[in-house]
Amino acid sequence: MSVVAQHQAPGRRRRSPLPYTWQRGYLLASPALLVMLAILIYPLGYSFIMSFFRWDLSGSAPFIGTGNYTDELFGRQFNQALRNQTIFSVVSITIEVVAGMAIAVLVNGKLRGMRLARTLLLVPPMIAPAVVGLNFRWLFNTQYGLVDALLRMFNLPDIPWLNHPAWALVSVIVADVWQNTPLMVLLFLAGLQSLPQEPLEAATVDGATPWQRFWHIVLPLMRPVIMIALMLRIIDTFRTFDVVWLMTQGGPGGATNLLTVYSYLLAFQAVDFGHAAAVSYIALGMSLFVLALLYGVPWLIAKRRAI
C-alpha cells in the first residue's frame, strides 16, 4: 500500500479510478500546463517565428531568414539603442548595488529613526513606474521643474535635463536609481540580518576595523544575495520601458532609446513586427548572455581551483 493510501481514512473518499502513476501526475497538471503553453510559450514561439519573416501588415509575409537580425545588428538606430542600453544598465545597476549596500549597512545599525527609514524605503518600489516617469518628467522640466528651480535659487545655471542627449540619459538613470535602490537595500538588509554573528564577533575580538570586517567577512558572506540582486536588476533593466517612455519617449533624437523602447517604436510606429521581434530576441539573448557570464565565470573559476 502506498504512503498516500495509508493516510486516507477508509470509506470517507471514493477511490480514484486512476492509478497513482506519473501519467496521472501529468494529467492533473495538464490544465496548468495548457494555460502556460497558451499564454507564455505560444506567444514566445510565435514572435520568434515572426522574427524570421518580413511581417509588416503589407499582406504577404515572406520568409527572409536572419534578415531582420542582420538589418538591426548593422543598423544605426539599433546600435544607438544598444549603446544606450549598455550605459543605462551598467551605470544604474552599479549605483543601485553600491548605494543599496551602503544604505543597508547604515539602516542595519541601531541608530534612532532607522525603523522609520526602513518603512520609507518601501515607498519608491511601491509606486508604478509610469507614475515615477511622469513625476520625474515634471521634476526635470526646465521651465516649471523643481530641480532647475532649486538650481536657480542658488544662482546656478539651468540644466537642460530632458532636452540634451547626455543629460536626458542621466535623467532616466536618476529616475531608475531612485525607484530601484530601495529594493536593493531591502534585499541586502534581509541578507545582513541573516548573517552568522560569530565570525564578526571573532574579528572584533581580533581587533579588525569596521571596514576590514565589512570587506573580509560581510561582503564574502553576502555574495549569494548580491548575485540574486544583480540577476534581478539585469533582467529588469533589459525590460525597462515605462519610465523612459513617459519621460522622453526615447528622445531627444534617440538619446534615451533603450532596446525595449526601440522595439515598441518599430512595432507600433513603424508597424514592422518582424524587426521588432528580432530586436526583442537580441535583447533577450544579451540579458541571458550577461547572466551566463555572471554565474558561469565564478563557477568555472571555482572548478579550476578545485582541480
Binding site: 503589407s58 528622445g251 531627444p252 533624437g253
Partner: protein, 426 residues
C-alpha cells in the same frame, strides 16, 4: 440532496461556463443587426457625442452598435495589433491619414460603397491621401479635417503694436520682441510625429517635398535643409521657443499657449473650442487667429480623422451603413457644434462658414484656405517606418546633436533602403 458543491458538479459547471464564453462571440456575431466599433475619443465631450450618434443611428436603422472608445495613441496601437492578428473583433475602426498606408491591406476598400458624386463632396486632399496609390482603393472615408492656423495673443500683440507674422522672417522678428520675463514668442512641438508634422510644413513652405518624381527621398534637398535649420534655430539660436519644446508633443504645445506662457502657436481646429473654454484656458477672450506663416509657398498639412471598415468583418453592409452615418451631414454638423471640428464635407463646411460670425467666421475661412492648399506626406510602402526614422533625425537636429544637413542626408539614405525593401519601387 447535499447542498455542497461536489467535484463533479463543479467540473460540469466549469465546462459549461468555458463553453459558453467560447461560444459567446460567435453567438453575438450571428446577430446581423449588431455591429462593433473601435472609436476615437479625447476630452470629456467625445463620449457623449458618440453616444448620441449611436443612439440616433440605431433609432434610424435598427442596427445596434457596441463600441469601445480610445484616445488617439492607444487607439492606433490597438488597431495595429488587431490588424496584425487579423481580428474581426471590430467591424468599424476610427483611423487617421497619418498611418493609413500601414492598413491598405487590412481595411476593406470603400470605393464601391460611395458614388462618385458622394466622394466629390469630400475635400479632395482628404480623399487623395486615404487612397492606396498602387490600387486606387479607398481605405477610409474622412470624418473631419485636421489643419492648423496661427493662434496668437491679440491683447499682447495690440499692447506692443505687433501684427501676427505672415512670413518666416516676421515670425522670428515678432518672436524676439515678445520673448523675455519668462514668456516666449512662439511654441512648436519638437518630438515624434508632431515634430515631423512641423518639419513637413516648413519643408513644403521652403519649396521642397518628401519624395521626387521617382518616389526617391528628396527631403534632404536644399529646401529641406533650410526648413530644418530654420526649425532648429527657432529653439537653439533665436530662443523664441522654450528649450523644453524638444520634448513637446501636441498637448504640451497647446498647454503652453493656453496657460499664457507663450504668445503664439500653430494649432489644430480643436484648439478653438479649448481656448474659448474657461475650464481649459487662462486666455479666454485674449487671443485671435491668423493664417499659418509662409516662405516660398503657403502650404501646410491637411489631413483627416476617418472611418474604416475592417477587412475581416463578417457584417460589412451594416458596418458601412454606420460609417456612412458618421460622415453624414447630421454627424458632421454635430461635430462642429460640439468640438468645432472642421467638416470633411465641402457642402457642410460651406454651410457652417456661412452661418459663422465674427472671429469664428475669420478662423473658418483661414482653415478652409489651409485645407484647399494643404498636402500630406506620401503614402508609399514603407513610409510609416521612414516616419519613425524621421522622428529621430529631426529630434537630433533640434537638440543640436548633428547638423540639419547631416541628419537629413543620413535619414534620406536609410529611407530609400527602407522603401526599397518594402516594395515602394517594385
Amino acid at each position: 440532496m447535499s447542498g455542497n458543491l461536489s467535484r463533479r458538479k463543479f467540473l460540469a459547471a466549469s465546462a459549461a461556463v468555458t463553453a459558453g464564453s467560447l461560444a459567446a462571440p460567435w453567438v453575438a456575431r450571428a446577430d446581423a443587426k449588431e455591429i462593433t466599433a473601435l472609436l476615437i475619443t479625447g476630452g470629456p465631450l467625445y463620449p457623449k457625442y458618440w453616444e448620441k450618434i449611436v443612439q440616433d443611428f440605431t433609432a434610424k436603422t435598427g442596427i445596434k452598435v457596441r463600441y469601445d472608445l480610445l484616445e488617439f495613441t492607444p487607439l492606433t496601437a490597438k488597431v495595429v495589433t488587431l490588424s496584425a492578428a487579423r481580428s474581426s473583433q471590430y467591424d468599424v475602426y476610427s483611423t487617421h491619414t497619418a498611418q493609413i498606408d500601414s492598413y491598405f491591406n487590412h481595411f476593406a476598400p470603400l470605393n464601391s460603397y460611395f458614388s462618385d458624386a458622394e466622394l466629390a463632396d469630400f475635400y479632395p486632399v482628404a480623399v487623395k491621401y486615404l487612397r492606396d496609390p498602387k490600387t486606387g482603393n479607398l481605405a477610409a472615408i474622412p470624418r473631419n479635417m485636421d489643419a492648423r492656423v496661427q493662434y496668437y495673443r491679440s491683447d499682447i500683440y495690440q499692447e506692443k503694436g505687433l501684427k501676427p507674422a505672415e512670413t518666416w522672417e516676421e515670425l522670428v522678428d515678432v518672436g524676439l520682441k515678445l520673448t523675455g520675463d519668462g514668456h516666449y514668442g512662439l511654441v512648436v512641438p519638437g518630438q515624434g510625429d508632431p515634430a515631423q508634422r512641423t518639419f513637413s510644413d516648413l519643408l513644403w513652405q521652403a519649396g521642397g517635398d518628401w519624395v521626387d518624381q521617382a518616389n526617391k527621398p528628396a527631403f534632404n534637398s536644399e529646401a529641406g535643409i533650410k526648413a530644418l535649420t530654420f526649425y532648429r534655430d527657432l529653439i537653439q539660436k533665436h530662443k523664441i521657443v522654450p528649450s523644453d519644446a524638444v520634448g513637446y508633443q501636441w498637448n504640451e504645445n497647446s498647454t503652453e499657449f493656453s496657460s499664457g506662457t507663450v504668445y503664439a502657436t500653430f494649432d489644430w481646429p480643436g484648439a478653438f473650442a479649448t481656448l474659448s473654454n474657461p475650464e481649459t484656458s487662462r486666455i479666454v477672450g485674449k487671443w485671435s487667429t491668423a493664417p499659418y506663416v509662409r516662405d516660398k509657398a503657403a502650404i501646410s498639412c491637411a489631413i483627416s480623422h476617418a472611418m474604416a471598415l475592417n477587412g475581416q468583418s463578417g457584417r460589412k453592409d451594416p458596418a458601412v451603413e454606420f460609417i456612412k452615418y458618421t460622415v453624414g451631414a447630421d454627424a458632421q454638423r454635430l461635430q462642429f457644434d460640439q468640438f468645432t471640428n472642421f467638416p470633411s464635407s465641402q457642402a457642410i463646411a460651406k454651410e457652417v462658414i456661412a452661418a459663422a460670425k465674427g472671429p469664428q467666421a475669420t478662423w473658418l475661412q483661414q482653415l478652409e484656405t489651409t485645407i484647399a492648399n494643404g498636402k500630406e506626406w506620401p503614402k508609399l510602402a514603407g513610409f510609416s517606418k521612414v516616419c519613425t526614422l524621421m522622428f529621430s533625425a529631426i529630434e537630433q537636429a533640434l537638440s543640436d546633436q548633428v547638423s540639419p544637413a547631416d541628419s537629413l542626408n543620413q535619414a534620406a539614405t536609410e529611407a530609400e533602403e527602407i522603401m526599397r525593401r518594402a516594395g515602394a519601387y517594385d
